[in-house]
Amino acid sequence: MIEFRNVTKQFEDAGNIALSNASFTIENGEFVFLVGSSGAGKTTITKLLMRETNVSEGEILLDGIDITKLPEKEIPFLRRKMGVVFQDFRLLEDRTVYENVEFAMRVVGANSREIRKRVPEVLNEVGLNYKAKMYPRQLSGGEQQRVAVARALANHPLILLADEPTGNLNPKTAMEIMDILDEINRMGTTIIMATHAKDIVDVMKKRVIEVQDGNIIRDEVGGEYLESIEA
């Protein structure tokens, strides 16, 4: 379970408050959309969860442990509980599909036997087993994002953080990615997805947390993407 307790984040260099006194809870296995206009504070939430940055005030509990108090050397182990997918895929161009996924497992110290077993398994989950030997530049945008999802899933994360994962994809491909994420969620992984995609939010009928100027202004199960949200 993830629990934000009165979390405020103020960036020292920018001076503005990115998140103000935010409190919400996400249960294990939930699918949550973070919506809001650009700069509203969605990405700040994902960054705080990964401890890419830390809170100015408040607590963030992950399964009862306050991650804001974690010492620096513990952060990699926190991140291993999460998978992350970005809008720009962030794949390693000089490695094949297989190697990109393998890389994620090597990082956490998986041995060769585990890798040989898990990589085909996870590529199969995203339907890319047959492209294992190809390089990212040989794949379409949707396929690249599926590799990114496979990489995020490789280490059996409890939580999958997706920051605008469909932002660079056409509607059809975007829905394919959402189907994969939905399937992953059904298998028990918590999914937190920051998005601007109204059509996706409206179709998926999941919980929606809306952020505006750093404030949580809506938290609604089965919510929609409101017209009032600026892109």
Binding site: P76, R79, M82, V84, R90, F103, R106, V107
Partner: protein, 298 residues
């Protein structure tokens, strides 16, 4: 660290070396050049030491005894000389020996000039003295001069002083050169790794997101430095060994004066190899570590 991780890190490091081809080659040759210069100075220093030792071994003190001293007194003086600290060995050179030497070597063909010397030998008995530590010559000479019936003590202190000071100077210069070259090489490799880190910032960033520890990220870079440093050491060693072997052979064949000789190539090879591998690897590892410390902030 597990074997699997280490193997992976080595594979990554090798890939990095190849990926940064031109930069790796540039670093490799620059470090090899530094090691080459270091090797030349080390060999110079070793040989100056070696030659100094040979000169020291050949440097003897000649102690002349008053002509009035009896044979018994001369033998007694021998014992007194032996009791002086720093005296390693002595050998008596009687006035008869001196005359014979003069006849045979110095006045060969002009023996007439030494006519009558057999009856009234003007030379003195003398002792040839070899010292333990040639740098204490002055003190030992002072002690020897105190012995009764000693006429004079002759030594080659000037030669000794010159050789000792030259040897000391070369040693100091070599150490200074070692430090400068070490620093230069560390800066070079640190720069290479800095560029590598910059080129691979995206990958490092992804590694951090996935949950890689700093150590896991650093190790391939450090190994990359190690590979470059070690390879430089091998290249530099081969060049230095080949060059020195040729020099020793040339001097042995063409310039053999019989006075002093250089250390054999086979004798210095293990030392130079160890020195290069240690220095090369150290340069690689330290250079990479410095660079990683400064630039691994994702």
């Amino acid at each position: 660290m597990s074997l699997s991780k280490l193997k992976y890190s080595f594979k990554e490091a090798k890939k990095n070396v190849i990926r940064n081809g031109l930069m790796s080659v540039a670093s490799l040759f620059t470090i090899a050049s530094c090691l080459l210069i270091l090797g030349v100075f080390t060999l110079l220093s070793l040989n100056v030491n070696h030659i100094t030792q040979q000169i020291k071994d050949q440097c003897e003190i000649q102690l002349y005894i008053n002509t009035e001293a009896t044979d018994e007194r001369v033998a007694q003086i021998g014992e007194e000389i032996k009791s002086v600290e720093n005296v390693k060995e002595i050998s008596l050179f009687t006035k008869e020996d001196t005359l014979a030497y003069a006849k045979a070597d110095m006045f060969d063909g002009n023996e007439g000039m030494l006519e009558g010397f057999d009856e009234d030998n003007p030379f003195s008995d003398s002792y040839k003295i070899v010292l333990h530590d040639i740098e204490l010559t002055t003190e030992t000479v002072t002690e020897l001069e105190k012995i009764v019936d000693v006429d004079k003590v002759v030594n080659k202190q000037d030669v000794v002083n010159t050789v000792v000071s030259l040897s000391g100077g070369v040693k100091k210069f070599t150490i200074a050169m070692m430090l400068v070259l070490l620093l230069v090489a560390i800066v070079i490799i640190s720069n290479t790794v800095k560029l590598t880190v910059f080129n691979r910032r995206k990958e490092i960033n992804i590694m951090k997101y996935i949950g890689a520890t700093d150590r896991f990220i650093r190790i391939p870079f450090v190994l990359e430095g190690l590979i470059i440093g070690f390879s430089s050491a091998v290249i530099a060693f081969l060049l230095v060994f080949w060059g020195y072997f040729a020099l020793v052979s040339y001097i042995g064949e063409k310039l053999n004066f019989g006075v002093v000789e250089l250390i054999g190539a086979g004798q210095v090879a293990p030392m130079i190899a160890v020195l290069f591998v240690v220095f090369g690897s150290l340069i690689g590892v330290v250079g990479s570590a410095i660079s990683m410390r400064k630039h691994l902030h994702v």
